[in-house]
């Protein structure tokens, strides 16, 4: 049972549906106005009714002033790492350092293949992720002299000109569930970004998963606190309690406080496409969790 001691971040997880094209953008504006720290968008390039997520992020970033934005999580197999590095850096500079990079090794391989991506096995996709992170960070690192060369099995760049440099160091937050990729996250990630509904045993799984991350971090000589632990949440507000995050705001406060103190979760990202829910989360939950956690940490 570990609390990694990070300050807390609160955000939303928005469906980039394009049927009402501006809706997802409005949800970013709503999240910002409500005082949240972060707005994130799913990235499923093979879903025809969704916006292209990084186009949406650049556009939404231009319509906001303060809030941080990322894909949750970027579908790596359909994005060239070198292009992604440039995309993130450009948006980060234009937005004054508000862009982060949620990254996933890939899921829904049928859809990926249908869009012209290559199907990878689980081991391969982790390897590819690691190579991509090396390329992305290498291209961002304009302090290094000379071109970037990475001769990976999945991605290769040969003497690529570095740059542009982002305005801040965008966090690479990895969506991961299985032991091997969790250890990879511990070794190279800045954050871990899983979704609660994909935890087979519910939130109690977080303990074991944190263990794998910590192990990966330790093996690479890193402090486990270098990896921020996020959690994508799904829930409903209601007058009466009907289960985890289904009930009145007070119940949410208690449950989220507990997650921080027990599992070290410090980034809460709520799936919400509607203003009322987002506002309630920002007004009734986020500040109360912050003060509860502060009180308990002493």
């Amino acid at each position: 049972m570990t609390d990694y001691g990070h300050d807390l971040l609160f955000g939303t997880f928005v469906t980039p549906a394009s049927a009402r094209p501006q809706h997802a953008v409005e949800q970013a504006v709503v999240a910002e106005r409500a005082g949240l720290d972060l707005v994130t968008f799913q990235d499923h390039p093979y879903v025809a009714t969704f916006h292209d997520t990084w186009t949406l992020i650049a556009y939404a970033a231009a319509r906001t002033e303060r809030i941080r934005l990322t894909a949750n999580v970027t579908n790596l197999p359909l994005r060239l790492p070198a292009v992604l590095a440039r995309t993130v850096a450009t948006a980060d500079v234009l937005s004054g350092g508000r862009i982060e990079l949620g990254l996933g090794a890939g899921a829904f391989w049928d859809g990926i293949e249908a869009m012209g991506g290559r199907r990878l096995g689980p081991g391969e996709s982790i390897e590819a992720l690691e190579e991509a992170v090396t390329i992305i960070r290498g291209l961002w690192d304009v302090e290094q002299r000379g071109g970037l060369t990475v001769a990976g099995r999945h991605y290769a760049v040969h003497g690529a000109e570095r740059g542009p440099a982002p305005a801040h160091r965008p966090g690479i937050w990895i969506g991961a569930y299985k032991p091997r990729i969790l250890r990879t996250t511990g070794r190279i990630g800045d954050g871990w970004l899983p979704s609660v509904q994909y935890l087979p045993g519910g939130v109690t799984d977080l303990a074991g998963m944190n263990g794998h991350i910590d192990e990966g971090a330790a093996a690479a000589g890193r402090d486990p606190r270098d990896i921020r632990r996020f959690l994508n949440l799904a829930g409903d507000f209601g007058a009466t309690s009907r289960g985890f995050l289904q009930g009145p705001p007070d119940q949410w406060v208690e449950e989220l406080t507990d997650l921080t103190l027990t599992y070290g979760t410090s980034g809460f990202v709520l799936a919400s496409d509607d203003t009322a829910t987002t506002e309630l989360f920002a007004a009734e939950v986020a500040p109360a969790v912050r003060s509860e956690v502060a009180r308990e940490r002493g």
């Binding site: 949406l56 556009y59 995309t87 869009m115 690529a160 203003t275």
Partner: protein, 704 residues
Amino acid sequence: MTDQGPAVRLGIQLDPAGDPAAAVELAVTAERLGYDLVIVPGPAEGGWDPWTLLSWIAGRTDRIRLVAAGTDGATAPALLARAAASLDLLVPGRLVLGVAGDGPGPLPDAGVPVWRSGDEHPDLELAGSTADGWIGHLDGSGTHWLQKRLRLLDQAAVRAGRDPRELQRVITLCGVLTDSPTPAEGCLDGPAERWIADLAPLVVEHGVSTFVLRADDATAADRLERFARDVAPGLHEAAARALAAGVLAARPLRRADVRARRRPGIDYDGLPGSLAATAVEPGDAGFGAVRSTYLRGGNPGLVLRPGTVAEVADAVAFARRHQHLPLGVRSGGHGISGRSTNDGGLVIDVGALDRIEVLDERRRLVRIGPGARWKEVALALQPHGWALTSGDYGGVGVGGLATAGGIGFLGRKQGLTIDHLRAVELVLADGSSVRATDSEHPELFWAVRGAGANFGIATAFEFAVDEVPEVGWAQLAFRVDDPAAFLVEFGRVTTAAPRETTPNLIMGGTGVAQLMAMVASDDPDVVLAQLEPFARLAPLVQQQVVIAPYAAIMNMFPDAPHAGVGEPVSRSGLVRALTPEVATASATLLDSGAVHWFQLRSMGGAIADVVPEATAFAHRDAAFSITAMGANAQRVDRWWNGLRPHLSGSYLSFESDPSPDRVPEAFPPRTLARLRALKAELDPTTLFRDNFSVAAAVPTGSSA
């Protein structure tokens, strides 16, 4: 003919290697100066991602067109197609894809225009035969060289069987605007007169529409301003002198395959420039999204999308020249009675007039455009702790509902939506724009509140709204063995309920009834107490009660695209009470299987506080509105006719039958007489007739 489109348009090409923030600044400045487009070139090595820069500029500007040049190669084609489609949805009609040389076109059919560049013969051949535009460059080789390229382009277009005017021609310039003539050859170094003299032939003889400055140094902002001020007007004048009126503004023509799908009897080429840019016609890529409405399939010949009151007036003038065709007026596209789409006619869609603003915080006065949706209105009012009753579905538009009535979930507490109207602004059939209130044009103000679609196109509404804390919201499902008895009971309980509570009932043929009720109170005890008698109506199979903001209820249903097919069949009736006769006829109707939707909305309460003469919606004594929907009008009517003798009138918004017989059901005799008199005065030629026209022929059935 009004000709407001600028003949000579201006553009700016950003520097891919420069500072991105400065590039954005330039784009914003260009838009402010009236420039038409900004070109973002392909990436420089180690440079910015052009697509991201373009998307960001899209977010920081409102109007300027965005040309993504050199997109080929950087990304997987399928992904580029998605990205382009996204941006085209976010900023409709503003994106253009540029392709360099004779590379493959990025998107065969994404609906985004493709402009090609490249000076070689194969490039020009490809551009002339397939592209929507060509980007050429003026460099040291001079305008003669460029004119030769433009001729080759024309020839390629003709060889491909195209009208060369379909191609937009865009030229990037080089040179420095100076005060003294300098002898340089090729580039346009020199004073404004020289620029005008050199560029005018390109416009007049070669149909060039746009000149683009390259923004590659720190003086770019100055140069933009000078060019717009010193060169563009002179160039425009020179070109206009040499050409017939309207020739320039009409360019580029729509492609031949698009024009081939035009419908007869519409003066497409006579569309004023103010409307041409946003109008959609059958061959356009955006047509699929605008042809149909939520419930009705359509195939109009032209959809006009004015963005200002002046443009609405232009659209009305255009419609007056087309009275031989159906005319639909559209706001939110959720019409049932109103034909806001049609076959081969015109549609004036004011969806772009969707602003919501607070005019007076203290008096809770808000101004709302017809294109706003009620869910958006609810969200905008929520931060103030306010709410305005509308209907039960947040996707419905303001324009259609607020001109007809508005029987909503706060109806028994707040009255009809129109009861909160304090002022309305309309464009009338003669194109004039008027404001109607209790004291200005009071007869029109009366008429708009129930029969608004007869008198003009509403462009703004001003409502006084109420303070509404959170509300109680219940969804109860019952097992119903005896629908007639259940309905009588429901009627009794509703009539006895305090006016905070407004229930809606949906009955199926399957023995299940669903009740949705709002209680205008955030006190759980009050909410539960008022719902309690309803919960005892019959055995509950499901129940949910929450206390939530009004806006959350209005936003409960996800958005669905407007892809209606065919014609909805809907019948509307009002009753003063759910008598055993009404209940029995309803149960028979339900049992027939002819209807798939049967809904009761409760009225009374504050709705009945208003005297019938106060608004054109006159059925103030109704206790319930009944709606039935089915697939086949004849079958529905066979059973609905059993209910007719018990009806005290109808609410036009739920009636899809266009027969003149229905008109007196919506408007009792004295109301109808007043409406007809005003109609004769304000719309003598019956331009507005898509929704319960009171000028319609005298009813064929029993007269009112």
